[in-house]
Amino acid sequence: MNQSNETGDGRLDFTEERRLIKAAQGGCAVSAHRLISAHQDRLHAFVWRMLRNEHDTDEVCQEAFLRAFGALAGFDFNYRFSTWLFTIGYRLCLNQMRRRSDHGGSIDFAAISATRRETDAPTDASEAVANSDQARQLKDAIWGAVDDLAPPQRATVLLFYREQMSCQEIGEVLKMPAATVKSHLHRARAKLRENLSGSVAEQWADVRFNTEAG
């Protein structure tokens, strides 16, 4: 993979993304593979945070890519591929949530805990600091508070912080005006503050030190 056409976090730059989309529109499987590889982990993380179910996440991600590539011929080059993909992914997440609530399904918290323990294994010295027991408790508390947010607020927070999208881009994904996105972000932050201001409030100073050091 040509790293020079990717940003530091593995994301494709605009020119390279455009080139790959055009090649994929012509049926180039290599370009299609690169497009998928560049977006699969980001979409997977977003969908997993929305659904919290490994099986559903895999299914939704695959369906999102299939739909995106099925309609690739009509792709509007004024938008980023990720915006389009996350738009499809978000709609599929909402459908899945609706279906799950209709069928009385539940989130697999056991799998979540097991996965978190496995993926949180420290890989180097700086990670070891961030993954101390105290930091892990706080991260769990934060993600727990994120899970308690309503779907639009959760999606807004994830796209804003993780995907670093602007309110305008988030509005395109969630199909709502940018002002509404700002409102969701404001309410989400207020809810996070409210949910996290209890027992863990005294530990914020240490966490601030750790995250700033990382």
Partner: protein, 239 residues
């Protein structure tokens, strides 16, 4: 005037998103230095943002995820109940033209045959109605010895009839010419579309007229499954 805690709470989001002016940021910073509670509130949201953006503890997609998606693309199409090859507008027009031409030729042949049967002398355009009437009346006069006045009266009645018959025969002749021209142009269009380097026969009036006549039909049967999909290769994906 120094900001109060309530003022700062209203400015939380703008402060975190750097949407404040430099002077306002300085005002908020001054308040945060002397207010631990507001500082903690701001830190709480900031740390939340840091964790959400940096903590990638989610399970990652499977290593073969991209390959699975790619392999599912052709399978998805194969699983469709009726595989439809989406042709371009030009291809679909050609297909429809072929089908219509196949039915059009026998129909026109039947029409021409019927017209020849009904109007056996219609092809003789050089014969004017007056000459025919004169010949008929002349023969009648010699056979039955009718008076010229009566013959002229009969001519007044018969002449418009024969004239209209002659007009009809001319119309049939024109229709034959038109049909021949149209079919020839249609064949040329088919040959031109089958052979891309050939110049398109867009200037043929009759061809354009036929296309205009067939336009509603083209709209109805636009996606036609005629050409078989090309064989799938490993490095090409059909979307």
């Amino acid at each position: 005037m120094a900001l109060t805690c309530r003022n700062v709470q209203h400015l939380h989001d703008a402060y975190l998103d750097s949407d404040l002016s430099a002077s306002m940021i300085a005002e908020v910073d001054a308040h945060l230095l002397q207010c631990p509670e507001c500082q903690r509130q701001i830190d709480m949201v900031r740390v939340c943002g840091n964790v959400i953006s940096r903590d990638q503890s989610e399970p990652r997609a499977a290593d073969d995820f991209a390959a699975r998606v790619l392999s599912a693309l052709p399978r998805q199409r194969a699983a469709a109940p009726a595989p439809v090859v989406l042709l371009t507008r030009r291809q679909s027009r050609r297909v429809v033209l072929e089908r219509v031409a196949a039915g059009f030729i026998p129909a026109m042949a039947a029409m021409i045959g019927l017209s020849l049967l009904v109007f056996p002398a219609a092809t003789d355009h050089s014969t004017s109605p007056d000459r025919q009437v004169g010949r008929v009346l002349g023969e009648s006069a010699t056979r039955t010895a009718v008076s010229p006045t009566l013959a002229l009266g009969v001519q007044d009645i018969v002449s418009p009839t024969l004239s209209s018959i002659d007009n009809a025969s001319r119309a049939v002749g024109d229709l034959q010419d038109f049909a021949g021209l149209t079919l020839r142009d249609a064949r040329e269009q088919l040959a031109a579309s089958a052979n891309p380097p050939a110049a398109p026969a867009e200037d043929a009036f009759s061809g354009a007229f036929l296309m205009q006549m067939l336009h509603p039909l083209l709209g109805v049967v636009s996606p036609v499954p005629t050409e078989p999909a090309p064989a799938q290769t490993d490095d090409v994906v059909r979307f």
